[in-house]
């Protein structure tokens, strides 16, 4: 029996990634990391900055993500996000750029606690990548 399900990642510009031989996905959900296997209950949640790990037959992949919504239904996992980067394609300078941006933003005074929290999260994740 196959233990595989389908994943689709879309960003506003295009359909970013479609795979149908995925065995497990780990997403940075709002209340902590969440591993999704086949026949998971239908769920909607949103994501905080972090790393998506996709384990599949054709190889494992990880992506850095800044925000998004995850929906799982009938063994279809859809992730909507506006900013996603493949970690394999990401070089040091790109990471540094993102980090610098995030740090600048967190330095601003008028941001709300919630966005401050998200940005701090972002900085932490980016630091672990380096």
């Amino acid at each position: 029996m196959s233990e595989e399900f389908k994943i689709e990642i879309v960003n506003p510009e295009k359909s970013f990634l479609v795979k149908d031989d995925v065995s497990e996905v780990v997403v940075p959900a709002y209340e902590g990391e969440m591993g999704i296997l086949k026949d998971h209950i239908s769920i909607i949640s949103f994501l905080k900055p972090g790393i998506i790990k996709i384990l599949s037959k054709s190889g494992d992949e990880s992506y850095y993500i800044e925000d998004g919504i995850v929906e799982f239904k009938n063994n279809n996992l859809s992730i909507l996000t506006s900013s996603i980067f493949n970690i394999a394609d990401m070089d040091k300078s790109k990471q540094q750029d993102l980090l610098k941006q995030a740090e600048e933003e967190s330095g601003k005074e008028e941001i709300s606690d919630q966005s401050k929290y998200l940005i701090d999260q972002k900085i932490e994740v980016l630091k672990t990548l380096n």
């Binding site: 879309v10 960003n11 506003p12 209340e31 969440m34 909607i44 949640s45 929906e71 239904k73 909507l80």
Partner: protein, 291 residues
């Protein structure tokens, strides 16, 4: 009557205009393909987003306390209109069609005694609206530097709209844009984005039970602002495809008209040249006869 020289000059100038319009048509056709492609590629995102929101709003337990972006403020005194046009001209009726649609909506609102606020996206819309509604325009956004419609820009507009909503500056927000149907038809659209139109959601409420993490309200209040940006982005994509399509057909017409004009001028030129020759001949013959 124009002299032969003048005619010659005019023919040359019309021909060079024709060359320009032809080139513009070609450029628009190439850009159109790209714009159309990205409009199609962008569709899954907004569709999925819509689906999730439908699922969420149908599952929401407490309608009274639903986020304001979904249910509205309860008033409809202040209307915000986001008019999305292009930054460049020479694209036929593209901008005027949006403006026409927007203006008829404006006068309807004003005649009902409501307050109107306008945000223009794209400089052409601002140019056309500022004469009549100059005092109503509160913001003018233009993305002349960015080549293609991108989500980053849409998000900027979305954030402005949401900021204003949170400051209670308006109750209802409508966006105006051209929907791309095909190269020769673009339909000006008025779409209400705040509060979200629940009419179309009723027909496909899904009987799917979801687990929510965290709860519905929190997801919704996080998702709805994103949806605004997504809707604006969709409108931008549709608009840019429409703009190129409209420009292409306008330039096609212009090229054809220039061709007709060249033909007409050429006939005129040939006739007057022939007339001059005949006249000279008559003069020579009558001169010879008189000898």
């Amino acid at each position: 009557m124009a002299s032969l020289d003048d005619l010659k000059k005019r023919i040359a100038s019309v021909k060079s205009t024709q060359k320009i319009t032809k080139a513009m048509k070609m450029v628009a056709a190439a850009k159109l393909r790209k714009a159309q492609e990205s409009a199609e590629k962008g569709r899954p995102y907004s569709e999925k987003m819509n689906n999730v929101i439908l699922n969420l709003s149908s599952g929401i337990s407490d309608k009274e306390n639903a986020p304001k972006l979904l249910s509205g403020t309860g008033n409809n005194k202040f209307h915000l209109c986001v008019v999305m046009t292009s930054d460049r001209g020479l694209c036929g009726g593209f901008n005027s069609n949006i403006i026409k649609k927007a203006k008829s909506y404006f006068s309807k609102i004003l005649s009902e005694g409501k307050e109107l606020k306008i945000i223009t996206v794209g400089s052409k819309g601002n140019d056309q609206l500022k004469r009549m509604y100059g005092d109503k325009i509160i913001e003018n956004i233009s993305f002349k530097e960015s080549k293609n419609a991108n989500y980053f820009d849409a998000d900027k507009v979305g954030k402005i709209v949401i900021d204003k909503f949170e400051n209670n500056e308006f109750d209802i927000c409508t966006i105006f844009y051209n929907q791309f149907k095909n190269v020769i038809t673009q339909i000006p659209q008025a779409q209400q984005i705040i509060p979200l139109n629940s009419e179309d959601s009723e027909e496909n409420t899904l009987e799917e039970s979801y687990e929510f993490e965290p709860d519905e309200d929190e997801i919704l209040s996080n998702l709805l602002p994103k949806n605004i940006s997504t809707q604006i982005f969709k409108a931008m994509l549709e608009n840019s495809a429409s703009e190129q399509g409209s420009r292409m057909s306008a330039m096609d017409n212009a090229t054809r008209n220039a061709g007709e004009m060249v033909d007409k001028l050429t006939i005129q030129y040939n006739r007057s040249r022939q007339a001059a020759i005949t006249k000279e001949l008559i003069e020579i013959i009558s001169g010879a006869e008189s000898l």
